[in-house]
């Protein structure tokens, strides 16, 4: 009788634990939906699927670390290491011309190639940086969020389609969309940040841009031609305005997913 109880007890306990695990996951998933954490979680769930070269910490780019992979899904606002380093060595001013591309100094740049510029009226203008624009120049379609829609940091800001590549551009901030533009305007969204404050700690600025773009062009080079061993950029060469047209044989979906951090 005792062995019966022990055996069946163990069996039912195991079943209970397994059911509880699945049940709890479902419950938490529903809670996440209700709390509108979906976008943030989708990003956190897929970030580890990016290749290691796409998850390099900003402080490795600037040379503060020899080798460091981001473990906070590029949300430097959560990162103690970043807080300590930013306090001790804030990045210097930098320069606006990076390898022939224009990166205005008054903007903050997201690792997914969106830029954010705080306006005097408290809103934030969001656009696509010079490298991003060349990747999806003259797109087949652009899908902007409706006015009043809410976007989340590292969630999807807007979608672009270029030569079969479905690109979602990552949002640099949390906020409500108050106006939409387009490539012809030079900006894509005007956003009212949540809580009236624009937190830019996770965005790159100033002297961080040059080493970042240097690394990005290396990644772009290997994405365009995976078989090549070459890692150098020709001196004095400037990226074409429409990279897709210049590289007709490349898998544009693979290139854009690499550069826009879409695993």
């Amino acid at each position: 009788m005792l062995s019966h109880i022990v055996f069946l007890g163990l069996f039912y306990s195991v079943l209970a634990v397994v059911s509880a695990t699945v049940g709890l996951s479902l419950f938490r998933a529903v809670q996440d939906f209700r709390a509108r954490r979906t976008e943030a979680i989708c990003w956190q769930a897929t970030f580890p699927d990016l290749p290691a070269r796409g998850r390099v910490c900003r402080h490795e780019l600037t040379g503060e670390f020899r080798h460091r992979t981001c473990d906070k899904a590029f949300d430097c606002r959560e990162c103690q290491t970043h807080a300590a380093l930013a306090a001790r060595h804030p990045p210097g001013p930098g320069e606006p011309d990076i390898f022939g591309l224009n990166f205005p100094l008054d903007r903050f740049y997201h690792r997914g190639h969106a830029w954010a510029h705080p306006e005097p009226d408290g809103t934030v203008t969001v656009g696509l940086d010079a490298l991003g624009a060349r990747l999806v120049a003259d797109p087949e379609a652009t899908e902007l969020p409706a006015v009043g829609a809410h976007i989340q940091t590292n969630g999807a800001a807007w979608h672009v389609r270029k030569r079969g590549a479905d690109v979602r551009v990552l949002s640099p901030l949390d906020g409500e969309v108050v106006a939409t533009g387009g490539s012809q305007h030079g900006w894509y969204l005007k956003v009212q940040p949540d809580g009236g404050r624009f937190d830019a700690r996770h965005l790159l600025r100033g002297a961080e841009i040059r080493p970042w773009i240097a690394r990005e062009t290396e990644r772009l080079q290997s994405a365009l031609d995976p078989t090549s061993q070459a890692l150098t950029m020709a001196d004095g060469g400037v990226l074409m305005d429409d990279l897709a047209t210049g590289h007709p044989e490349a898998d544009w979906d693979a290139v854009c997913s690499e550069m826009f951090l879409q695993p």
Partner: protein
């Protein structure tokens, strides 16, 4: 221009064209169809379609079931090492290991349903469990564990490129992944017991002094030896399959340090197993078997299973690959590493063979004779169906899911 098929593949990796893929899976589909026909005959006409009989009540199917379950142990053991021991290098192969485990266990269960005389009565074991029987334990544990493996397979499916576009799938996957260590722990617990009980099946047979072993409490030594050998075989099989898939797909799938790590884990466990197995065999030769009235060497007097089979199992397929896998220089050489892994898997298969086929071949009654058995084509076909099913599931998983997360890093 990505087409419908490419849109379902992981990004950033190359896969064969749809036509090439079709050419690959068609022969396996044909094999599956043929095998299902063989299995169907057994289900419809009865088990007289096999060459099993009242003396060889267990045959090819049981032998292969035990072998694939031991080889599929890589799923639980890799999960244990990764989620509980935090050996993060194994992230490179955990998805593949889970799929292989799922294939091995679901295939074994399917073969078992054909093997029993009344498959529709499978639930009787759950309704009238005999808690003293090892087979009851096996039934319960394997059912639970197959469920766990299925649950572990779901996140891999949900991360498919098309599936992950549905936000609710991704959120559920995220929450489930947070609790993965719990599932890994449950999987380890269940695997410990059913791998052991599969060994216990034979160790408790007082009628078969060849297989009977003393042990600890109700558990014969074969219980513990099976767990250890499964833990040794699992990583070796993952090593072998990873290498094979890499060869067939002609791409590097894991960083160069991953396979030698699997080899080292397998080697250490295999050495421990061989030592314990040697001790157990000596105890059996000198104590257990004589106590039941049989001198151990009597069993090896029956051709063709002479003492050479003991040597092959313990030395050629046991000690030898263990020593190879424990030498770093040899682990760095792929031919040595893969050959040793292959020998390990063969050794585990030999061990399962000895306990099923050889045990039943040996006579028990004093005036009885040694018996031979060769499987019928229907039996072989059924198991080929399982193998084909495995290849198909794995091929589809490899094409459309991320089984090797490091592949992207290695593709340029």
């Amino acid at each position: 221009m990505p087409d419908v098929d490419t849109q379902r593949m992981p990004r950033g990796v190359r896969r064969s064209s749809p036509r090439q893929f079709l050419l690959w899976i068609l022969p396996w589909c044909a094999l599956l169809a043929f095998g299902l026909y063989g299995a169907g005959l057994c289900l419809v006409k009865g088990l007289n379609q096999t060459n099993m009989d009242n003396r060889f009540a267990f045959g090819l199917w049981i032998f292969l079931d035990l072998t694939v379950i031991a080889l599929g142990a890589g799923a639980f053991f890799t999960g244990f090492l990764l989620y509980i021991f935090k050996k993060n290098e194994l992230k490179a192969v955990i998805n593949s290991a889970v799929v292989i485990g799922f294939i091995c266990y679901s295939g074994a269960v399917a073969a078992l349903l054909v093997d029993v005389g009344q498959p529709l009565r499978f639930w009787f074991t759950f309704w009238h469990p005999n808690v003293h029987s090892m087979l009851t334990e096996v039934t319960f544990c394997i059912s639970c564990y197959l469920t766990v493996l299925f649950i572990e397979y779901i996140p891999i499916l949900l991360k498919n490129r098309k599936m992950r576009q549905v936000p609710s799938f991704l959120v559920f996957e995220f929450e489930l992944h947070k609790l993965m260590p719990v599932l890994a722990g449950v999987g380890t617990f269940l695997s410990f017991f059913h791998q052991g009980s599969l060994g216990g099946l034979y160790g408790v047979l007082r009628a078969r002094p060849f297989a009977f072993r003393e042990g600890f409490a109700i558990w014969p030594s074969t219980f513990f030896l099976f767990i250890l050998s499964a833990a040794a075989a699992g990583p070796a099989f993952i090593l072998l399959t990873t290498w094979l898939v890499s060869k067939i797909s002609r791409k590097p799938l894991v960083r160069p340090e991953v396979l030698p790590l699997l080899g080292r884990i397998s080697g250490i466990l295999l050495l421990a197993y061989i030592l314990l197995k040697a001790i157990d065999t000596l105890v059996w030769i000198n104590s257990t078997s004589p106590a039941r009235g049989f001198a151990a060497h009597q069993f090896y007097a029956w051709k063709p299973f002479g003492a050479w089979i003991l040597f092959v199992e313990i030395v050629a397929f046991g000690l030898l690959p263990a020593l190879i896998l424990l030498r770093r220089r040899l682990r760095q050489s792929t031919p040595w590493l893969v050959s040793a892994a292959g020998l390990v898997c063969l050794g585990i298969a030999t061990n399962r063979f000895v306990l099923t086929i050889q045990t039943l071949a040996l006579p028990t009654l004093p005036f009885d004779r040694f018996l031979t058995y060769l499987p019928s084509w229907q039996e072989t076909a059924t198991f080929l169906a399982v193998a084909a099913y495995g290849v198909l599931v794995y091929s589809l998983s490899f094409r459309y899911l991320t089984l090797f997360p490091q592949e992207k890093d290695l593709s340029c």
